[in-house]
């Protein structure tokens, strides 16, 4: 029987454990008698993608008393072994299981949630596969590799009723001062914003190297075109290559475009026109929204976000350095009193609420970045219908909203 039709095995098992507890056979700590959350109440998690980002994210969940990381997965053995050491060290045992194949994680009925921190080209496949098997998902940004990938992920979240949180902690935690300044009207009417992050990715050009032992290289390449091994890729250097990532625009763009869109209350829509530098004539690409707001990629003056209003302008750097008096206004943000995006997800797993960076917000932000890339790559203006979520009047550009996947890594 599939896990989707019956997922209660672990809890059924734990009910039996509780019965045993009555006979005095289970240590008190496992039941939460020492003030911690009882094991049967803890949400279990597996880390998929055990590089530095994944292990950093995981350390947050390892600190939650109501969460327990029980497995780690990566296509690089050294990565999952490092994660296992971190987990076992935290719990003082050697129980954390490891695998090269995320499907082993998805198929386990005793895992409730997955933390996905693989390279970008795997996010969609693993997210959807795991949701299909009943897992809730925390997925690092950029959550998608293409615009249509985001649509499919949104469909899966809704179809399987899963809790999904994207992974940009900065939009609220780091940029909330900007949101408060804008929404309190301190800047007057804000007409322009700048997101100062790196540019779009390009073609793969790394030389072939011998694949070392302990690396499942075919699986690392996964759904995208196969290229020979090069160690730069497994050391986090994959973002300049279009097959694996949209580059700086989708990477930090998910923070900064997302931050600007949230500040401007544009997080549930998208631009209507995207003009590359050759069209703007100002050295930067510009997203134009239906209300006339312009968001530029590059070209700001200070920090990663700049906004200019009729009454003043702000820079993210100055905000970070405490140069503004931030108005004390309330903007709905994380749930259940959470102070981090990780806790927001953790709380929502229990309450089934939509996390702050829910799939809609993640997808809309990433879409903006992808549209920017398409305008860069084709070097012409792109027209976008943010309601239908389609590129208008440009079939060649519309084709770039999606990519074919390599078998067997199809969904």
């Amino acid at each position: 029987m599939s896990t989707l039709t019956k997922r209660w095995t672990r809890r059924d098992m734990l009910k039996s454990t509780l019965a045993l507890a009555g006979c005095g056979l289970v240590p008190g700590a496992a039941l939460g008698l020492d003030g911690t959350t009882a094991a049967n109440e803890r949400v279990t998690m597996a880390l998929i993608g055990c590089g530095g980002q994944g292990r950093g994210d995981m350390s947050n969940f390892l600190g939650f008393p109501d969460f327990q990381v029980i497995a780690c997965c990566d296509v690089v053995r050294d990565h999952f072994l490092a994660a296992k050491r971190q987990v076992d060290g935290r719990y003082g045992n050697s129980d954390c299981e490891t695998t090269y194949d995320y499907r082993d994680i998805a198929h386990r009925e005793d895992i409730d949630t997955v933390l996905i921190a693989t390279p970008d080209h795997w996010h969609e496949n693993i997210s959807i596969y795991c949701m299909k098997y009943g897992k809730d998902v925390y997925c690092e940004k950029p959550e998608t590799l293409t615009i249509n990938a985001g649509k499919r992920m949104r469909e899966a979240v809704n179809r399987f009723n899963r809790v999904f949180s994207g992974g940009s902690q900065r939009v609220w935690q780091d940029y909330q001062g900007i949101h408060k300044l804008v929404r309190a009207g301190v800047l007057g009417e804000v007409k322009e914003g700048w997101a100062n992050v790196w540019g779009a990715s390009g073609e793969f050009d790394l030389p072939a190297q011998e694949t070392p032992e302990g690396v499942d290289w075919d699986r690392w390449c996964g759904p995208t075109v196969w290229h020979p091994f090069n160690q730069t890729l497994i050391k986090g250097g994959f973002r300049p290559y279009r097959d694996y990532s949209g580059g700086g625009t989708t990477d930090w763009g998910c923070h900064t475009f997302g931050g600007i869109m949230f500040a401007m209350d544009l997080q549930d829509t998208g631009p209507v026109e995207i003009n590359p530098p050759s069209v703007t004539g100002k050295g930067n690409l510009t997203f134009v929204f239906a209300n006339g707001f312009k968001m530029h990629h590059g070209g700001g003056w200070d920090g990663v976000i700049n906004l200019r209003g009729t009454e003043g302008d702000i820079s993210e750097k100055d905000m970070r350095e405490g140069k503004y008096q931030i108005p004390d206004i309330y903007i709905p943000n994380y749930h259940g009193g959470a102070d981090t995006i990780y806790r927001d997800f953790a709380n929502c797993v229990r309450t089934r609420q939509k996390p702050f960076r829910n799939i809609e917000r993640a997808h809309r932000t990433a879409t903006c970045a992808h549209l920017g890339n398409i305008a860069y790559w084709l070097d012409r203006t792109i027209h976008w219908d943010p309601v239908a979520e389609e590129i208008v009047g440009d079939p060649e550009a519309a084709l770039m909203m999606d990519r074919a996947k390599r078998a067997p890594y199809i969904i």
């Binding site: 029987m1 599939s2 896990t3 989707l4 039709t5 997922r7 299909k132 009943g134 809704n158 179809r159 399987f160 009723n161 009207g185 700048w194 100062n196 790196w198 540019g199 779009a200 990715s201 390009g202 073609e203 075109v225 300049p240 209350d265 549930d268 530098p277 050759s278 004539g281 100002k282 050295g283 930067n284 590059g298 070209g299 700001g300 003056w301 200070d302 108005p327 206004i329 309330y330 709905p332 749930h335 009193g337 089934r352 609420q353 939509k354 890339n373 790559w377 084709l378 070097d379 079939p395 084709l399 999606d402 990519r403 074919a404 996947k405 390599r406 078998a407 067997p408 199809i410 969904i411």
Partner: protein
């Protein structure tokens, strides 16, 4: 970072142009689909999958009969992704393939095609542990595709999922029915939301996001107050999430929200509820929000303040003044209302000021008196005579600490030459806060240095002479030294641009006409000018801070110079990388240095007319810094008395 950005961009753009032009023909790709080289076959299928049109469909369909293993799985997947309905019959037998990947691909593709004929095969596949989750997904896809054209199929699929209330698919079934047969599942949702099982209740509440029936949402809102507070929080939080919910709920939820506000104790619930009220309420809900403003929780108060703004009540300042004047209003409410009234400085601020003045003088509560004073300080700049108002406030302040707070407020919110005069007057007449007043004058002088540097220098000299405080004197002298470095340089500018041209470098760009430069002439009024407010570094203006970071770009700058007499003068300065100068429309100089700015790089004579003269510069950047500095002086490089500058015509 900027240079990497450009290189990165170029690296990204060039190969894409090649990629777009080299698409192979469909025939070649079809032949490669079943090639012995697995990578070549995969690459061919991946390219073919993205080529629109029936020819590619047919090529994939033909290959379905020949391919095997991963290649076959890929082709099946491609046919599903391309919605090739003719593929359904050929895909059905593949569901039983012994190759797991092929079978899963066929199941998934059948779901994407949305053909009800596949339902029996998919139900059969549900019995296979490996295929089951994929078959369920496929069935859900078919149901979704059938809702409009064949609702019975959708009803059949979703109905089957409702059979087991312990399964995950149960919720998928409910969600499905919410789209076309709400009568079937509303009672289930209501029962779950009001039932004992917290997990089921949470699942049910999460599905309310998919409910389009505002009457049902109103019903849930109405019964919310009787639910456990954790559940109330989920419902209220959802109503508060306007950006994903606003199209579905309406004002009918408000009575329920108000009930929650009356009964809930948990500040998180109250915060969410008052936020929801702000989203969906109207002017008649003002008393409820005012009550929330009185609640003893800062979070709830902040949310109530935000809700008040969100409500967009006409005459809000008048209504809030009424609250202040009402003797029944509590201390907490009055303090919050004062904050609301003075934060946005809307309405009849003179009347607000008078009310606050009265409260400050008459209230027996220290908190109200302090809030009223802060409010008066905040709105003083909107009154007819801010200087006199501030002076009165400082004189009447109860102690030196409050006086210092007022000085700080003036420095931050009203940095004007009038305010500097006031600070100097206070420095002279109120010895107990003399250093603070001196410091306020120094801070404001720094902010106003570009408006009238002579006036600022004069103030700073007064502070040095009269403040009698070492630290403040030191700060004033430091600013004087800094201004001295920039003395005689032009610091009042507006800009137009920047301008760039594809593949054109700075030196060449310098001689291309943009914006106000037309047919060999300068026409400044033909473009818009933006004040240059950032980027001053001594005598140099750093335009990458002031305008934007770029390489190979140019911009125009304009200022107006007042000369008390007709006189010969000298433009004297430096630039990185190129400068052009026009005076009163006459072209005077072009210089291209490709070097950091240093004095003497740019020098030319200028005939200043008595009255206002218009100066326009073109400053070009080839890479690295984009800086300039320019001074108007006598032919002997001495300062000219009586020059004034302004940005606007």
């Amino acid at each position: 970072m900027k240079k990497f950005f450009i290189l990165f961009l170029l690296a990204a753009m060039l190969p894409m142009a090649v990629f777009a032009q080299n698409a192979p023909a469909i025939g070649e790709l079809e032949a490669a689909l079943t090639a012995s080289d697995a990578n070549a076959a995969q690459n061919a299928r991946m390219k073919l999958e993205r080529i629109p049109g029936p020819e590619a469909d047919q090529a994939l369909l033909r290959a379905l009969d020949k391919a095997q293993g991963n290649e076959l799985a890929g082709i099946a997947s491609a046919l599903g992704n391309r919605n090739v309905t003719a593929a359904a019959e050929k895909l059905l037998p593949l569901v039983d393939s012994s190759n797991e990947i092929v079978a899963i691909s066929a199941v998934t593709a059948l779901g994407k095609l949305g053909d009800a004929k596949a339902v029996p095969a998919l139900r059969n596949a549900q019995k296979n542990a490996v295929l089951a989750p994929h078959a369920i997904e496929a069935l859900l896809r078919i149901a979704e595709a059938s809702i409009e054209k064949a609702p019975e199929t959708a009803r059949d699929i979703y109905g089957a999922f409702l059979a087991d209330s312990k399964s995950e698919t149960y919720w998928a079934g409910i969600r499905g029915f919410l789209r076309f047969d709400t009568a079937r599942v509303f009672p289930i949702l209501e029962k779950c939301i009001t039932g004992e099982d917290d997990a089921a209740a949470n699942r049910a509440v999460s599905l309310l996001f998919d409910v389009n029936d505002s009457a049902f949402l109103a019903k849930i809102s109405d019964l919310c107050a009787s639910l456990p507070e954790a559940r109330q929080l989920c419902v209220m939080d959802m109503f508060a999430s306007k950006y994903i919910f606003s199209a579905k709920a309406d004002g009918k939820i408000v009575p329920g929200v108000k009930k929650v506000l009356e009964t809930a104790k948990d500040p998180a619930v109250l915060t969410a509820a008052v936020t929801a009220l702000g989203q969906y309420g109207n002017a008649s809900d003002l008393p409820v929000i005012l009550k929330a403003l009185e609640m003893n929780d800062a979070g709830v108060q902040r949310a109530a303040e935000a809700a008040l703004v969100q409500l967009n009540v006409p005459n809000l300042p008048e209504l809030l003044l009424g609250v202040l004047e009402n003797s029944d209003s509590s201390v907490g409410l009055r303090i919050s209302v004062i904050k609301m009234l003075t934060l946005r400085k809307a309405g009849d601020t003179a009347k607000i000021f008078r009310t606050l003045e009265k409260l400050n003088a008459e209230s027996s509560d220290e908190g109200i008196r302090a809030a009223a004073l802060q409010g008066m300080v905040a709105i003083a700049p909107t009154l007819e005579d801010p200087r006199a108002t501030y002076f009165q406030l400082i004189r009447k302040a109860p102690n030196a600490d409050v006086q210092k707070q007022i000085l700080n407020a003036i420095t931050n919110s009203w940095p004007t030459f009038e305010a500097i005069d006031l600070a100097v007057e206070i420095m002279r007449t109120m010895p107990e806060i003399r250093p603070n007043a001196g410091l306020a004058a120094v801070h404001m002088g720094n902010r106003l240095r570009n408006a009238d540097v002579d006036q600022v220098v004069s103030v700073l000299k007064t502070v040095v002479r009269e403040v009698q405080h070492d630290d403040v004197e030191k700060r004033a002298n430091a600013l004087l030294a800094e201004l001295n470095k920039a003395a005689g340089f032009m610091h009042v500018w507006a800009f137009n641009g920047p301008y760039l041209k594809n593949d054109v470098k700075g030196a060449e760009l310098h001689d291309i006409e943009f914006g106000p430069e037309k047919d060999g002439k300068i026409v400044p009024d033909s473009v818009e000018w933006t004040p240059l407010t950032r980027g001053q570094d001594g005598w140099i203006w750093r335009l990458e801070s002031g305008i934007q970071t770029l390489d190979n770009g140019t911009a125009y700058l304009r200022t107006f110079v007042y000369s008390p007499i007709d006189q010969e003068a000298l433009f004297y300065g430096g630039v990185d990388d190129g400068m052009k100068i026009w005076l009163n429309g006459e072209f005077l100089l072009t210089k291209y240095t490709s070097a950091p700015p240093s004095l003497g790089q740019c020098e030319c004579g200028a005939k200043l007319r008595k009255g206002w003269n218009e100066v326009v510069l073109k400053i070009t950047d080839a890479g690295g810094g984009w800086d300039f500095g320019l001074r108007l002086c006598t032919q002997k490089h001495e300062a000219i008395d009586g020059l004034k500058f302004k940005r606007e015509k």
